[in-house]
């Protein structure tokens, strides 16, 4: 924890956010009766497989929390099979294609994952997930089955395609399709769950192109960020159509001597992701339920913050670039309404504008993409600037109090550190 504070030492507002998050925020208490052992185990799996999703799922309303949790775990199981390079394609393909039927088979488990698969235990105990899946209301089961069916077949098509195995993703169209299968469908499915629960309008389930964009924006940001990790595992998700304009091989981008090309290629990837933002904002603007809003908004603001950090950042090619924990917390605390979210997006697109370089071949297109975000905000939230002006006062007061607390803590720490050193 101390190192997290240290990272943010030059960003006092993040220190404030960290303190606020750690000490002033009630953590959700979702009581599950001890006799519901399967359900308890499911939530344990959830926290083991993804800390970030665990936190946001736990804060969802009771009506949908279990459905979203099981949806997530089912897809995680599917993903673990897809990811596993030790399973031969002959075996993998039918598993992927039939996974939507497997989830009805009571007692089904899978022990053949490679030893390195970090979520192999989930499949070893998969009968528990199935048990809880069958406890869900029929309307939620139907959504999960439909999406699992589509995703499993999409993944199987991708895995079977020989050129994908050799070169990775080829065209931008392939790229969008792949991201649709692994992430866009999650957006579609979640929207159906929200609508089916009655917490959101039925319209939400129908705007599939827009909910698809929600997934694509997240997935594309991750794909850009994970360049070096994926490449070392021999996974190639950057579309050839983009990188072949700059280099002969995707791996060349990280080599010395290719720095300018690497940065320009990175800009093309970032631009490709930026274009989904207006859709993402449109989606968030349609949400009515507070817990669903936070659930959807948090990953989106993380993505724009990350994407901004990746833009023009050559470290992408050698390491995993991540936003500071303090920045993350500050962003999470902001996810309260569309005004805050739109301002977060505007803030980061303005940072992108500042980092944008006229010598970059995508300079104008990036500018235009950022201008679209600005115009989206003004068109769809006409009073956004007056919100911006009216809120800081209230926040300031709060901030000042917190800053005071932080300084007291820091002063004590300094005192004790000094005391120890002197002795």
């Amino acid at each position: 924890m101390a190192s997290v504070f240290l990272q943010s030492i030059f960003h006092p507002s993040e220190i404030v956010a960290l303190v606020q998050y750690k000490f002033f925020r009630p953590s959700p208490v979702n009581f599950i009766p001890p006799e519901q052992k399967a359900k308890i185990r499911c939530y344990e799996f959830l926290s083991q497989t993804s800390r970030s999703f665990d936190a946001v799922i736990r804060e969802l309303d009771d009506d949908i929390r279990d459905a979203v949790c099981i949806f997530y775990l089912v897809l995680r199981g599917l993903d673990t099979i897809e990811d596993d390079m030790s399973i031969p394609i002959m075996k993998k393909e039918p598993l992927l294609r039939n996974f939507h039927e497997i989830i009805y088979k009571k007692g089904w488990t899978f022990n053949e994952s490679g030893p390195d698969e970090k979520d192999r235990q989930l499949l070893v105990e998969f009968s528990i997930i199935i048990e809880e899946f069958l406890n869900l209301e029929k309307k939620f089961q139907n959504v999960i089955v439909e999406i699992t069916n589509k995703m499993g077949n999409g993944m199987a098509d991708y895995a079977k395609n020989a050129s994908h195995q050799e070169y990775g993703i080829l065209t931008n169209e392939d790229y969008d399709l792949y991201c649709h299968y692994v992430a866009g469908l999650v957006g579609n499915g979640l929207s159906c769950i929200f609508s089916a629960s009655g917490l959101e309008k039925s319209e939400l389930a129908k705007i599939t192109e827009i909910s698809n964009s929600m997934g694509l924006f997240l997935q594309k940001t991750n794909i850009i960020r994970d360049y070096s990790e994926d490449l070392s595992d021999n996974r190639r998700f950057w579309p050839k159509e983009i990188w072949s304009e700059y280099v002969d091989d995707l791996a060349d981008l990280k080599k010395p001597g290719y720095e300018i090309k690497a940065i320009n290629c990175l800009s093309t990837m970032v631009l490709n992701a930026l274009q989904h933002i207006p859709d993402c904002l449109t989606y968030l603007n349609k949400l009515q339920n507070e817990s669903i809003f936070r659930f959807c908004a948090i990953p989106q603001v993380m993505a724009i913050a990350t994407l901004t950090l990746l833009f023009k950042n050559h470290n992408v090619y050698n390491s995993i670039v991540k936003i500071r924990k303090g920045e993350t917390i500050k962003l999470i605390l902001k996810c309260t309404n569309i005004y805050e979210i739109a301002n977060v997006f505007r803030y980061y697109t303005r940072v992108i504008i500042k980092k944008n370089d006229p010598k970059d071949p995508n300079f104008m297109k990036i500018s235009m993409a950022c201008g679209k975000v600005e115009q989206w905000c003004q068109t769809n939230i006409p009073d956004i600037d007056s919100y911006h002006l009216s809120t800081p006062k209230g926040l300031d007061k709060n901030d000042n109090r917190l800053i005071f607390v932080v300084f007291i803590i820091l002063a004590f720490t300094a005192y004790f550190l000094g005391y120890e050193l002197n002795n």
Binding site: N356, P358, K365, G371, K372, E374, P382
Partner: protein, 312 residues
């Protein structure tokens, strides 16, 4: 019915593009009215005349049995003679309307300007057509363009005449005498140090071909049913940019050549222009006129700069 088109200001920057566009789609009857003649095309009849003289324009309309008028004529906004703005933009426009009413013209499309809603002080953020004219206009150009627009829209419905007005913002393009060469000059003289603020002000631009296209759409779609008659429409490229981005890219694109534009680099008007937000919501044009830009901003800048380089 065969339309007889009259383009007033058809030798001007926007006017010429409209003439070309109509010609390209095979219109047979295109007439141009302008103060001077710059283009000599066999199949296009040209009338040289002064708008402030009623007989000049009415004779043309009567003789050619004009059915549709597109009125693009106006002195350039950095013209120094204030009375000329009144003479052309207001008196001239009155004459056009009179002639249209007297000789049974069916449609009149007027090239207004996005600056009719600008008071010289306020920010223009995503402004749409519900914004009123300011109490006090920034300059006489804006004031007279607004007066002309008002006259044109008030004439809608009289004697079977349908009218509308287009309000383009920041028109630029090949052979442009105003925007691009001026920017390049600014950069050359190192005046970009005047960049104020942090380039966070967004500004709209319109590539000239898109502007011309909007005019052609307006003539085609002008009717009561389309809710286009008697209406004004903002026209832009639909992609506002941080102001300096277009300036910088235009200048970089021509970096190798040494252009000396005829425009003085940085008039007071332009300084003001560059430090405020100035962009518009064009949904009305999109939904009622079916307007979508044909050429995106990046391509437009490329074409415009190329012509500047070629001309020197």
């Amino acid at each position: 019915m065969v339309e007889n088109y009259l383009i007033i200001g058809g030798d001007g920057f926007v006017g010429r593009w409209i003439v070309e566009m109509l010609r390209k789609r095979g219109e047979r009857s295109i007439i141009v009215f302008d103060l001077i003649q710059k283009y000599f095309d066999e199949e296009i009849k040209h009338y040289k005349g002064d708008l402030s003289n009623y007989d000049d324009i009415s004779k043309c309309i009567e003789k050619e049995n004009i059915t549709s008028v597109i009125h693009t004529a106006s002195p350039s906004h950095d013209c120094k003679y204030e009375e000329l703005f009144w003479k052309v933009n207001v008196e001239g426009t009155k004459n056009v309307i009179e002639a249209c009413l007297n000789f049974g013209v069916k449609k009149l499309v007027y090239t207004s300007s996005s600056s009719v809603v600008y008071d010289g002080i306020s920010e223009l953020i995503n402004v749409d057509e519900t914004a009123p004219f300011p109490q006090k206009h920034m300059n006489v150009y804006n004031e007279t363009k607004a007066a002309g627009e008002k006259l044109v829209l008030e004439a809608n419905g009289r004697n079977g005449l349908l009218t509308c007005a287009l309000r383009p913002c920041g028109i630029f393009g090949p052979n442009d005498m105003q925007a691009i060469p001026g920017f390049i000059k600014v950069m050359e003289q190192g005046q970009s140090k005047f960049q104020i603020g942090d380039n966070e002000n967004f500004v709209d631009w319109t590539y000239v071909e898109n502007c011309a296209y909007a005019h052609v759409l307006a003539v085609d779609k002008l009717s009561k049913e389309n809710q286009t008659a008697g209406e004004a429409f903002f026209i832009t490229n639909g992609t506002p940019l941080p102001f300096w981005d277009l300036v910088i890219i235009a200048s970089l694109t021509e970096l190798s050549s040494n252009v000396t534009g005829k425009e003085p680099g940085f008039t007071r008007f332009r300084v003001k222009f560059t430090t405020t937000n100035r962009y518009f919501n064009i949904n009305k044009a999109k939904s009622r006129l079916g307007y979508e830009p044909l050429v995106d901003l990046e391509e437009g800048v490329k074409r415009a700069v190329k012509s500047v380089i070629n001309s020197t």
